[in-house]
């Protein structure tokens, strides 16, 4: 949205959204977390102390057990003796693409479908929501298996599958909320003014759904990162030995009593990423919500 009439017209510019974000300690924390992950993803080759694929001979005990965190391997080693720290850094890339890009696309599709169906009612509603039902009931795992066989596995396919199957819940929830918002008087007033559907949907209803969407988007980060591991397990996503936070957890979760670091450290990474986005999202919502102004 370009600058609005109201904004241009006043001399006292309120500080930009970014500046206001930076002023909030929690939001700042969130931004830092995100920045760290993004930097790790982008500069992995320079940041990682070891090659993430190298299976160190000294990375396993004689019995073949992985090493707990120590001076040489800061976060310990995994089940084949690779450096977990380096794998985490490299895995950030995958996890960002899944958790942020794929999940983001799902959120966008879902909100668009939910809002449209909730607002238009009639056959648009029927078609969109029944399609949503259909997609919700769609056997995604099966699709994964088929795709795995047809294409060579890649991150983008798993991202696509996640985007394709994950939008449905968001669609349902925004649909329900939109139905209620669409009955509010100000929407009627907009219609009375001749406002087109696009304007009503995106400028008037969408902002009211923002908090819902932020909740789903940020929580979705954690679940999609884990979902990626399941799908990759069936063969469509990243294949071993390429690391992702999800598959590190997935591969090792049965070992969590004997090698807890293999589950908890990547778990904390996922948690931090999701929390980071949530902190920023929460702050953004407050900043964008006029009725919250006055609290800082």
């Amino acid at each position: 949205m370009s600058q609005t009439v109201a904004e241009k017209n006043t001399g006292t510019q309120t500080p930009s959204v970014m500046v206001r974000l930076l002023r909030r300690p929690l939001a700042l924390t969130g931004l830092i977390i995100i920045a760290v992950v993004v930097l790790a993803a982008v500069f992995a080759p320079w940041l990682a102390p070891y090659n993430p694929y190298e299976q160190f001979f000294e990375g396993l005990t004689i019995e073949g057990a992985p090493l707990p965190p120590n001076a040489q391997f800061w976060f310990g080693t995994d089940l084949v003796g690779r450096d977990l720290f380096s794998r985490l850094i490299y895995g950030a890339q995958t996890s960002l693409i899944i958790g942020v890009v794929a999940n983001g696309i799902a959120v966008v599709i879902g909100s668009a479908v939910g809002i449209s169906a909730g607002y238009f009612r009639g056959w648009v509603d029927t078609v969109l929501m029944r399609f949503t039902d259909l997609m919700m009931a769609f056997p995604a795992l099966l699709l994964a298996i088929v795709l795995a066989a047809i294409f060579s596995p890649s991150l983008w396919i798993v991202a696509m599958v996640i985007a394709m199957v994950n939008w449905v819940q968001i669609a349902r929830v925004t649909y329900t909320e939109t139905r209620s918002i669409a009955e509010r008087d100000f929407v009627v007033a907009e219609r009375a003014m001749g406002a087109g559907a696009g304007r009503i949907l995106f400028r008037h209803i969408l902002p009211h759904l923002l908090s819902t969407i932020i909740v789903w988007a940020t929580l979705g980060i954690a679940t999609t990162v884990l979902l990626e591991a399941t799908l990759s397990f069936l063969g469509i996503g990243v294949q071993p030995p390429i690391p992702s936070w999800g598959n590190i957890i997935f591969e090792n979760q049965t070992y969590f009593t004997s090698a807890p670091w293999l589950v908890f450290i990547p778990g904390v990474a996922i948690l931090a990423l999701a929390l980071g986005f949530n902190l920023v999202g929460d702050a953004l919502r407050d900043i964008l919500d006029p009725t919250q102004q006055g609290r800082h």
């Binding site: 039902d133 009931a137 795992l141 099966l142 066989a149 929830v173 329900t176 679940t223 969590f256």
Partner: protein, 306 residues
């Protein structure tokens, strides 16, 4: 409303038809030969061919599909290739467990999630709020396997309060429900919090407060009904989700639900089971959503069913 329900049920039938078709196509495309699966590693090519013929797997796709549909109309879901049992029998044997777990899990999600959400909304910005936020994110990001085993270890093995997995009594239901509830509670609490915050600053809450009603009443009578809409939608979704099975929790707790059946079938391309489970869970999903759609206008009277 009756007309609406009738229309929705017809649409449901169409959706099921669509799902059955899509699933069938996918299964047709899955690069694993069911006949081979049945025949096993020592079978001769002739045996495989023979099996393929008997199952009609050599027929053209559309014919296979029509055959399946024909069976479906007669209530026949077919026989499992590998389990050698009627699919309907297999599903029926697991349906009660799945339903039970669904109820338990949704109950836990609601109790945990709504409480957390309400508290967080009321204490917005406080340390409690922050703690609850982290708790919900832990719930969402934690692998269910780990949570399940931890709960089992602490409450079943160490304290002996609950059986170590299994199915049958109420005590069996508690831990798996909590495990699932913990995950769901993360979602519910965040949703509840955000929608309650929106509601709490509406004018009508002020009106209610002006009459001097207790905080609890303001919350439960005036605010919650407004804030609950997205939660209803989420319950609708969860009904479907849980009916399509939750593999990890089921296997950790030895819970004989649909999830394990489906997972094994997918791994081994047992087409009739996959089809059956998909259709059953599609039914649950569609009905769950229908239920949610029917309930929303009862809660928000401005919404009309059309």
């Amino acid at each position: 409303m009756l007309a609406y329900v009738a229309r929705r049920l017809i649409q449901t039938a169409l959706i099921l038809l669509g799902i059955s078709f899509v699933t069938f196509v996918l299964l047709y495309l899955v690069p694993a030969d069911p006949a081979r699966q049945i025949a096993g590693r020592s079978a001769t090519a002739a045996t495989v061919e023979n099996i393929r013929e008997q199952l009609g797997l050599n027929l053209p796709f559309y014919e296979q599909y029509l055959r399946y549909l024909g069976g479906l109309l007669n209530g026949d879901l077919g026989r499992s290739y590998l389990q050698k049992t009627e699919v309907s029998e297999l599903i029926a044997s697991r349906l009660p467990a799945s339903l039970l777990l669904m109820v338990g899990a949704i109950f836990c999600e609601l109790v945990l999630g709504l409480t957390m959400g309400v508290v967080a909304a009321l204490k917005r910005g406080s340390r409690t709020d922050d703690t609850l936020m982290i708790a919900s994110f832990v719930g969402v990001s934690a692998p269910q396997f780990v949570i399940g085993i931890l709960l089992l270890y602490v409450f079943a093995v160490k304290f002996g309060w609950f059986p170590i997995g299994g199915y049958g009594t109420f005590a069996h239901l508690v831990l798996p429900s909590i495990t699932l509830g913990f995950l769901g509670a993360g979602w519910y609490s965040r949703m509840m919090r955000s929608s309650l915050i929106d509601v709490l600053r509406q004018d009508y809450i002020r009106t209610a407060r002006a009459t001097g009603v207790t905080r609890a009443k303001v919350l439960f009578k005036h605010a919650l009904p407004n804030a609950i809409l997205p939660i209803i939608a989420m319950i609708g979704i969860d009904i479907g989700l849980f009916m399509s099975g939750i593999v990890v929790v089921e296997s950790v707790f030895g819970w004989p639900g649909i999830g394990q059946l489906a997972w094994q079938a997918i791994q081994r391309v047992d087409i009739p089971i996959i089809m059956g489970v998909t259709l059953v869970s599609a039914c649950a999903i569609v009905l769950g959503n229908l239920l949610a759609d029917l309930i929303t206008p009862l809660i928000d009277p401005r919404i009309k069913l059309r």
